[in-house]
């Protein structure tokens, strides 16, 4: 076929689309599929790469301390889930269904734990209840190291996440149900158990699976306050970093993945069911009935929860600004001068983190939106686009530590031996090993699913004929994407970018295997500071991270508001009315 005929069939823009689709498949293959295969093949081979079947599992379960680690992890996660979901449910209930005062204040305070690495919650507990802790020196004796501390730290960590899920679940209901119930003489307690609770069933399921997975796979909190209480995430760290035993690491990695996969499945199923159960468009918004007793109870409850969360941050502030608690209680800024310390490389780690988070945010947002756009808004290569969609959802089932371990196992290999062919292939990705880029990629993959869902939800809302109209006018897709589709979902773009940034600043689980002394993020410097007992520096570093994240969030909120105002001009009047109502 002649050249001109071929370009008639496919426009240049479509060739570009095909290239992007192929490129993203290639990226998923090398940055997701192959590393996963590497970790799974590590499970069934010995350190020399010989096939050993289930031998690694056998030796794992023969090790009593590892068996304990599993049981401990399960115990911690179950208790955390129960406590966290209960508190989060009551908080969300208070926000949606009661007339308490200062709702905004409680809301912001309950979000604070999101802005620091999970290690900080553990550290703060040590600052409060440790041997030289603030409360200990005041005579409070509450030995927190170990089990209790981990659970408290995990509850603080998971609370905002569960709260956000439950907020959504409780904010939508049909008031007519309650009216009907009270017409039948149903008491408010009965209404709660027959309407409120079943109505938020799917929210509860998804909050519970989320809490369980998060606390099951979290590394920061047990590392900070776990003492010698073994859990899976700290065991995998010891085996891989301490003993370079990748085989055992892979086995633990697989064990860590199981609950995540199960939650992923449960979540998908319940999301589907929830979609079928959507409340009708005729639903009437919930009217808060006056009840003084209820309001007083929830006012006290929310205040107590807020004080507990604030005390965590207060402890970090105190340690960071006091010379040496409890011996020298004088104000100082010297802990913020990291240059005097040998450990943790000081402020350079923070600068590194900012750089990494910014690059992750920009590259990640770009990748996520481009991927979602290709999947939902283009025509060519339907099978590959389905594959991309699947790969985009896959990371949701992968704990950060597993991503990290899979990456180190794949990227640190200088070459692969293909035995069957007797050849040795260079690993071109080995150059990424121990650089910032491997961390950026690990972060993007680790957070891909959540952000991809945000992006595709926003893109799906747009009329799918924009692209068709553009085609008819010979407008290439990238122009329509840049001038129409992306501006139309700019709020989702910003949300994605800030999610990438915030989480890159705080996550350590994916990076704990990947950093090197030259490329070390601030959140990870906390680990070595804590290891060295340098609590003051750790507190100071935590505060810097916290301030940076809060600052970023404030900027995000301001930009978001400005944009929302600008965008309201584009909405049709009916929609604008709805948005206005929602805001009010």
């Amino acid at each position: 076929m002649s050249r001109s005929r071929l370009t008639d069939r496919i426009s240049p823009a479509e060739i570009l689309q095909r290239l992007i689709i192929i490129l993203s498949v290639v990226c998923f293959v090398f940055f997701l599929i192959v590393p996963i295969i590497t970790i799974f093949s590590g499970v069934v081979t010995d350190s020399k790469g010989n096939y050993v079947g289930m031998e690694n599992f056998r030796s794992y379960f023969a090790n009593p301390s590892l068996l304990t680690a599993i049981l401990n992890s399960i115990k911690i996660s179950v208790v955390t889930t129960l406590i966290s979901v209960t508190i989060a449910y009551m908080l969300a209930y208070a926000m949606n269904r009661t007339a308490i005062k200062c709702k905004a204040v409680y809301k912001y305070i309950s979000m604070l734990p999101l802005f620091v690495p999970t290690m900080v919650h553990g550290l703060a507990l040590t600052y409060l209840f440790g041997k030289k802790g603030i409360l200990t020196s005041m005579g409070v004796d509450f030995p927190v190291a170990g089990e209790v501390g981990i659970v408290i730290a995990e509850v603080i960590y998971t609370l905002p996440q569960a709260y956000m899920v439950l907020m959504v679940a409780l904010s939508s209901t049909d008031y007519r149900l309650y009216e009907a119930a009270s017409a039948f003489g149903s008491s408010s307690v009965r209404s709660f158990f027959s309407i409120t609770l079943p109505g938020s069933k799917y929210g509860l399921i998804s909050a519970a699976t989320l809490c369980f997975t998060l606390s099951f796979t979290d590394f920061g909190a047990p590392q900070a306050i776990g003492a010698n209480y073994p859990v899976l995430s700290t065991s995998i760290y010891k085996y891989v970093v301490g003993q370079q035993n990748f085989q055992m690491g892979a086995v633990i990695g697989v064990l860590l993945t199981i609950p995540a996969v199960i939650s992923f499945a449960i979540d998908r199923i319940s999301a589907k069911k929830a979609a079928n159960n959507e409340i009708s468009s005729k639903a009437v918004a919930y009217k808060i009935t006056p009840s003084t007793g209820r309001d007083i109870f929830y006012q006290i409850f929310c205040t107590v929860v807020s004080i507990l969360i604030l005390s965590i941050f207060l402890a970090v502030f105190t340690i960071a600004f006091i010379k040496r608690w409890p011996y020298e209680k004088v104000f100082t800024l010297e802990h913020f001068d990291f240059s005097s310390k040998l450990v943790g490389s000081g402020i350079s780690t923070f600068i590194f983190s900012i750089k990494m988070a910014a690059i992750t945010a920009i590259a990640g947002t770009l990748a996520v939106f481009l991927t979602a756009y290709m999947v939902y808004k283009t025509r060519p290569m339907p099978m590959l686009r389905k594959t991309i969609h699947f790969c985009s959802m896959l990371p949701m089932a992968l704990p950060g530590m597993v991503v990290g371990l899979a990456y180190i196992m794949f990227f640190n290999k200088p070459f692969f031996d293909i035995e069957a062919l007797q050849i040795r292939v260079m690993n071109p990705f080995n150059v990424l090993y121990q650089t910032m880029w491997i961390m950026v990629i690990a972060n993007i993959i680790h957070m891909f699913s959540t952000t991809y869902i945000t992006a595709s939800t926003a893109l799906k809302k747009l009329d799918k004929e924009y692209e068709n109209a553009a085609d008819s006018m010979n407008i290439p897709f990238y122009k329509i994407m840049a001038k129409v589709s992306i501006p139309m979902c700019i709020t989702a773009v910003l949300e994605t970018a800030q999610y990438f940034f915030l989480n890159s600043m705080t996550t350590i689980s994916a990076l704990v295997f990947l950093y090197s002394p030259q490329s070390k993020p601030a959140a990870l410097s906390l680990v070595s500071m804590e290891d060295n007992g340098d609590f003051e520096s750790a507190a100071a570093m935590s505060l810097i991270i916290f301030a940076c994240n809060v600052g970023m969030r404030i900027i995000y909120e301001i930009v978001n508001k400005t944009l929302a105002k600008r965008m309201s001009r584009w909405e049709n009047p009916k929609q604008a009315e709805k948005t206005a109502k929602k805001a009010a």
């Binding site: 008639d8 069939r9 426009s11 823009a13 009329d463 008819s472 001038k483």
Partner: protein, 351 residues
């Protein structure tokens, strides 16, 4: 006139579901073709295949005599107006029109001229600095047409362009759109499920049902000589009766459908010497006319199956004959306008 567009043997399958089954149609240069049919019959699918936005499972598309089956939509040189209009919401009216011109690298002065021209054509110049959300439905529709025309396409595709408008505006825009098409002489294919729209606007109507084309013809042809009971019933109102074939001799197992439009039935007073005796079952006021539902009386001269008859009478006749619900009158069929179909079944099956 020469042929501009042709779809030949188009079949479209979604899995095992057939959305179009061996469909062929064509459009002459400057012709206004309406694709008409009930919801889900495949009109939009056919339009999108002509546009290249969808690939046919089988069949060929010819544009200007050349095989365009595999041609990318951007190379087919058409303008399209979607049911949702798909105006870019974040671009002002003039920017919506400018976008395509800019991508075509038309010089600025020329672009401005062209924008002014098409805005004037659809009479929307006053609103050029507004965002689409600030326009009424009718105005948005005009912008969509202006945008589709801006690149001077060879043909225009419209997917139910009027369905989002309310009845009054729809009638007005219908006339405007038809005038515009006449003036420009641009070949146009419009999808609609509104038979009145098709009858008033089209040069040629393609009637579809269940993934197939039932009839192609001018509005007069499909109205006066519908090929099948389906077309007869779908376009305009019609009375259908099944009669035993035997009545006119021939095969005893077959039945015949007789069909006649309401305006071809004459209403006579009960005292008239000729005509069939009927009872008035229902009266509907339609402004200039009344629509009567009538039932054959037991003692009437003919026996038809028990279908009711619908008749339109002018208000003057209605008052003159003093027609009342439950009252008795007579009707006379204009036999030369009676249409006959054969069928195997007892009830008229609309196929």
């Amino acid at each position: 006139m020469s042929e501009l567009l042709r779809a030949e043997g188009i079949t479209k399958k979604y899995g095992s579901f057939t959305a179009l089954d061996n469909v062929s149609m064509s459009a002459e240069e400057g012709e206004f073709v309406c694709l008409l049919g009930p919801s889900g019959c495949g009109k939009t699918t056919l339009l999108r295949i002509i546009a290249g936005l969808e690939n046919a499972t089988e069949g060929k598309i010819y544009i200007g005599g050349e095989d365009a089956t595999k041609l990318h939509p951007s190379k087919r040189n058409f303008g399209i107006v979607f049911q949702s209009y798909a105006l870019f919401p974040n671009l002002k009216v003039w920017q919506n029109i400018d976008f395509g011109l800019k991508c075509k690298k038309v010089p600025k002065a020329e672009r401005e001229e062209r924008i002014a021209e098409v805005l004037d054509l659809v009479n929307i110049t006053d609103h050029k600095d507004k965002y689409p959300s600030q326009l009424s439905g009718g105005q948005q529709q005009r912008v969509a047409i202006a945008r589709a025309l801006a690149l001077s396409p060879k043909f225009l595709l419209l997917d139910e362009p009027l369905s989002a408008l309310d009845a009054k505006v729809r009638q007005k825009v219908r006339v405007e759109l038809k005038n515009l098409q006449n003036k420009l002489g641009i070949t146009t294919i419009m999808v609609t499920h509104d038979q009145e729209e098709a009858l008033t606007m089209a040069d040629k109507i393609v009637v579809m049902n269940n993934a197939c084309i039932k009839q192609i013809g001018t509005p007069n042809e499909v109205y006066d000589h519908p090929d099948s009971p389906f077309v007869a019933d779908f376009i305009g109102s019609i009375n259908m009766f099944t009669t035993n074939y035997n009545e006119d001799n021939d095969d005893p197992n077959r039945f015949k459908i007789k069909a006649i439009r309401p305006e071809n039935i004459e209403v006579l007073p009960n005292t008239a010497p000729e005509g069939v005796k009927v009872k008035v079952i229902n009266i509907e006021f339609h402004g200039a006319t009344y629509r009567l539902t009538l039932r054959l009386r037991e003692d009437s001269a003919v026996t038809l199956m028990d279908n009711d008859i619908t008749v339109d009478v002018p208000t003057s006749v209605f008052t003159e004959y003093d027609i009342k619900q439950g009252g008795h009158i007579k009707v006379k069929f204009n036999d030369s306008r009676m249409i006959y179909y054969n069928t195997d079944k007892e009830q008229p099956v609309l196929v």
